[in-house]
Symmetry: C2
């Protein structure tokens, strides 16, 4: 069975949305990714937390096919993010970011993780993403995310990352900043020239665009009526996406990538239905199956 | 064969986009609608132009299954709109609107139009939309569009219109203003309570949401790489949509509405590829067929 290595943030989030507020709830890209991907394949996490990290959170993750031996616990406080969504749930306002122990984080990939077949480089400094790639032994598949901050401030390093990955998963504002193209379809072609073999544009409620083998695959998201908190939807998408690929394939082809996008979409549709990881952690394989059936009704 | 009656604006547009600028080109909701719908069924236009309206424009439309006997020509200048698109082509900035002869327009439906089976009330004052409905004899199907200005300033009249139509076709910002819902899926349910039997939300490059018979149908737009001018895309969608329905059905059902949305999407994808009506007027049935094939590849 393929294993998935993810390197990303683990944090405590304080989130305000029109549905309410939560303080210091578990979040971070690595957690959304892992809880989604673990439905399909074993996940190995590399990241850092402080001494305020709660044992119950470690237990919750470890009980679900998620290996935390690569999670460094160091003195200090865990990364914390504070954000707010107004009525337009597509855009988070960041109120505060406390890097805390994340500031000095350098990924150390444990020996037993280095042969992981699938690797996901969540949205972290591209210099660290490159450090991860130096430490893993020829994975079958590497996916990566990034954000506007890195595109702006670490472009040369990011370009090196792009040359070494299979799929880049970003949103439309990141695509614009990376390529200068306001047209998503044009932008996708520009990203492809930077190295990845495929590109997935995450469009939130509008779904996704997959480009690979010279063709587009585009579908809407599952229609969610009760969006409570969109935080983590993109990382959940990535988890469903890589999870599905890792479960089904030695390598990957266009058909597998298409189906993986749909799984990413379905998992993300659960995440947004409650605060933080609350909804995602309750999802069962049965729920995913049911939602797939409902999704097929919507698009056919 | 079913005929389609459209009541809407005819105007001369001055448009600036990142691709260039055009002055005083033929536009208006009725023209985009008609050129799209005439691919499927005969179209009858009710509207008003001034004495500056060009004979070549009348000829161009009349040569294409479009009946202009209901087009009033009166002294004065034709309606004119000036707009600009920045890099984000999803939103037009209106620089100037000159109502001109449109200011005193009252729709008069010629006797030979009154038995039209399909009616489209383009985005005009809901008071005028009601006047149209008073003059037509029990059409099989009525579709309508509106805009934020009318939702705000003529809400009671608009609500009367909504009680009398089969399908409302609007965009997401109009949906928000009409219902107060920021979630599109929730908003659609609210609109349904106002009377229409179905709702189509036009999402521009993100496609459409159709709600009817208690179910959603959602698909993306055809991916267009060279968006030159998005003006008229929504009216073109409506034309392809009603055209298709008029061509195929005495009444209509969910399957017909679904296919009609796809046709609306395909026609709109041509409109945006050149300024004004330039691309749409060059479209052939062969082009539509080819684009349908290409679209099926994108979503499957």
């Amino acid at each position: 069975m393929n294993s998935i290595l993810v390197v990303g943030s683990i944090g405590y989030d304080t989130i305000s949305t029109p549905s309410g507020q939560r303080r210091d709830i578990l979040g971070g890209s690595a957690n959304y990714f892992s809880l989604a991907a673990a439905h399909y394949a074993p996940v190995r996490v590399v990241g850092v937390v402080g001494d305020d990290y709660k044992a119950e959170h470690r237990q919750m993750l470890e009980s679900r096919n998620i290996d935390l031996r690569g999670l460094q616990q160091v003195p200090g406080k865990t990364f914390a993010w504070e954000g707010k969504y107004e009525k337009d749930m597509n855009e988070a306002q960041t109120l505060a970011t406390h890097l805390n122990v994340f500031e000095k984080f350098h990924p150390v990939i444990p020996a037993e993780y280095r042969t992981s077949e699938f690797v996901f480089l969540a949205n972290i400094d591209p210099v660290l993403q490159l450090q991860v790639l130096e430490q893993v032994k020829s994975p079958k598949f590497v996916g990566a995310d990034t954000m506007n901050y890195w595109i702006h401030s670490k472009r040369p390093d990011l370009l090196k990352v792009l040359e070494r990955i299979d799929v880049l998963l970003i949103n439309e504002s990141e695509l614009r900043q990376l390529t200068g193209c306001w047209n998503t379809i044009q932008g996708v072609r520009e990203v492809m020239k930077m190295g990845p073999k495929a590109v997935v544009i995450k469009r939130g409620e509008y779904g996704f665009v997959l480009f690979c083998e010279e063709r587009y695959f585009i579908l809407p998201a599952f229609p969610v009526e009760n969006v409570v908190d969109p935080t983590g939807a993109g990382d959940t998408f990535a988890g469903g996406f890589l999870g599905r690929l890792a479960q089904h394939q030695k390598g990957w082809d266009r058909e597998e990538l298409k189906r993986a996008c749909v799984d990413g979409c379905l998992l993300a549709s659960f995440t947004v239905q409650d605060f933080g990881l609350e909804s995602l952690r309750r999802v069962t394989p049965q729920h995913i199956q049911e939602r797939l059936q409902a999704y097929r009704q919507v698009i056919a």
